[in-house]
Amino acid sequence: MTAFAAVVERYAARESVLHRADARAKVPAVFLTVLAVTSTREGDWLALALLVIPVVVGAYASKLGPWFVLRRTFLALPFVLAVLPLAFTRPGETVLTLPVVGWTASDDGLTAVATILARSWIAVAITALLVSTTTVVEILRALRTFRVPRLLVATIFFAYRYFFVIGEEAVRMLRARDSRSASIPGHRAGGTLRWRARVAGYMVGSLFVRSLDRSERVYAAMQARGYAGEPQFLDHAPLPVRQGVGAALVVAYAVAVQVGTRLA
C-alpha cells in the first residue's frame, strides 16, 4: 500500500458486527441519525445524554473502543471558534465576565454554545464510527441504491480511484520542490510570498495538464472495453431484512428521543 493511501483511508480493519453490517443500511442510518442529533433543542441535556448512548454502544460494538472514537472527533475542533461569540452576544443573565476586555457571558449564551458543541460532537462521533467500520468502496456502492444518477456515481468512483494516482503524483512534485528548497545560513530563503504562491500555481498547472492527458487515456481504455457512454454496474444482492430493520431501529431511537423529550 502506498503511503498516500495509508494516510487518506480512515477505515480501520477490524472484525465486528458494525464492520460486517451492510453499508446500504449503515449509510442511511447514520445520515438520518445525525440529522436527528442536529435538531436537538438548546439546553435539552436529557436528549443529548440519551443520544450519547448509541455512540458508546457503537464504540464497543465496533471493537474500536471509546478512545479511538474520541480521537477521531477532534477534527471538528477548530470550528469551535465560530460559536464561542454566542456566549457573549446572547442576552440573558450574566454568569461570568472576562477579565481585561470586560465581555460578559450570559447563561443563555453558554447554554447555546454547550448545546451546539455537544450535538456536534455526537454527530461527528457517529460519522467517525461509520467511516472507521466501512471501506470507501462500500460507502460508494451504497450510493447506487439511493437512486443517485449513474453519471454521478461513476464520476465519484473514478474520482476515488484517481485520487490515489494523481495524489501520488502531487506528492512526488511536492517532494521534488522541497528537496530543492535549500537555504544558506545568513540568507533569507524562499523568495517572496507571491513567488512561492506562483511556484505552487505552476505545479497545479502542470498537474492539470497531466491529469487531462490521463483522462484521455482512461477514456481510451474504457472504449477499448466496450464503453459507449452508459455506465453499467453489477447489481448486488438485496439488503438482508435484518440489516434494514437494525438500521431502522437506530434511527427510530434517535427520533424517539427527540419526540419524547419535546412531549415530556
Binding site: 480512515r10 477521531r72 465560530a82 452576544t89 461527528v124 465519484i156 502542470s206 481510451a220
Partner: protein, 237 residues
C-alpha cells in the same frame, strides 16, 4: 515520504475554515442545503451528460482527483502556516461551471467522508458554498471580465486572480449567513470575521489560480476550453 504526505493531508484537511461540521447549523438549514444541492446537481448532471457525453465520466472523475491533489499544493506563508487553494474557480474556468460543480461536489463529498472534514448533514451546505458558489461566481466574474481585455494576457491573469478571490469571499459570506440563520453565531461577529480571514486566504487562491492558468496558457494552450476543438482529444496513446 510519510512526513510530506502527512503534511499534505494536514493542509488539505485543515481547510480554509469553511467546512461546516455537523451540529453547527440547525437541521432545517442543513436539510435546505441538501435540497438545493440535489436540485442543482440534477441540472448539472443533465447538462454535462449532453455536453461531454461519452467522456463525461472519465473527464470529471479524473478532474475531481486533480482538484483534490491541487489542494495539496501548498505554499509556506508565515509562522508555520501555509496557503493552498479551494479550486472551485479554477475548475470552472477550465471545465465550465456545470462540470466544475460536479467535480467540486465529488471533492467536497470525499473530504467529508475521508477526513470528516465537514459534516454529512451539513454536506449540502458545504457543497453549495465551496463547490457550487465558488464555481459559479468564479466563472461569472471571469467571463464578465474576459471580453473587456481583448486578449491581453497580463490583464486576463489579473482578472482570473480577482475572480478567484471573489469566489472565496462569496463562499465565506454564504457560510456566515448559514451559521447566523441557524442561530449558531451572531451575524455581526461571524460575517466580518469570516470575510476578513478569507480576504487573506482568497489572495492565495487568486495567486495560485492565475499562476496555474498562466502555466497552462504557456505550455498547453490547446487544452483550454475556448481553444479546444471538440475532436482533438480522442485517444492520446
Amino acid at each position: 515520504m510519510m512526513s510530506i504526505t502527512q503534511a499534505a493531508i494536514q493542509v488539505t484537511s485543515d481547510g480554509p475554515g469553511m467546512h461546516i461540521p455537523d451540529g453547527f447549523v440547525s437541521a432545517p438549514v442543513a436539510a435546505a442545503g441538501w435540497v438545493a444541492m440535489v436540485g442543482i446537481l440534477a441540472v448539472a448532471v443533465r447538462v454535462t451528460n449532453r455536453e461531454l457525453n461519452e467522456k463525461a465520466v472519465p473527464l470529471m472523475g479524473v478532474m475531481a482527483a486533480f482538484i483534490f491533489a491541487a489542494q495539496m499544493m501548498n505554499f509556506p506563508v508565515a509562522g508555520g502556516t501555509s496557503g493552498h487553494m479551494l479550486g472551485g474557480a479554477l475548475a470552472a474556468i477550465l471545465l465550465g461551471p456545470w462540470a466544475a460543480m460536479i467535480v467540486m461536489t465529488a471533492v467536497v463529498g470525499f473530504k467529508s467522508v475521508l477526513f470528516q472534514d465537514g459534516g454529512i448533514a451539513a454536506l449540502g451546505l458545504n457543497v453549495l458554498n465551496m463547490g457550487m458558489l465558488t464555481a459559479l461566481v468564479g466563472y461569472a466574474s471571469y467571463r464578465t471580465a474576459e471580453p473587456l481585455l481583448r486578449g491581453n494576457r497580463t490583464a486576463l491573469l489579473a482578472s482570473v486572480s480577482v475572480a478567484a478571490w471573489i469566489s472565496v469571499e462569496v463562499a465565506a459570506v454564504s457560510t456566515s449567513l448559514q451559521l447566523a440563520v441557524s442561530g449558531s453565531s451572531p451575524l455581526d461577529v461571524v460575517l466580518p470575521a469570516m470575510v476578513g480571514v478569507h480576504a487573506l486566504i482568497g489572495v492565495g487562491e487568486g495567486l495560485i489560480t492565475a499562476a496555474a492558468l498562466g502555466f497552462i496558457m504557456t505550455t498547453r494552450a490547446d487544452l483550454l476550453p475556448q481553444r479546444r476543438p471538440a475532436s482533438s482529444s480522442t485517444g492520446r496513446g
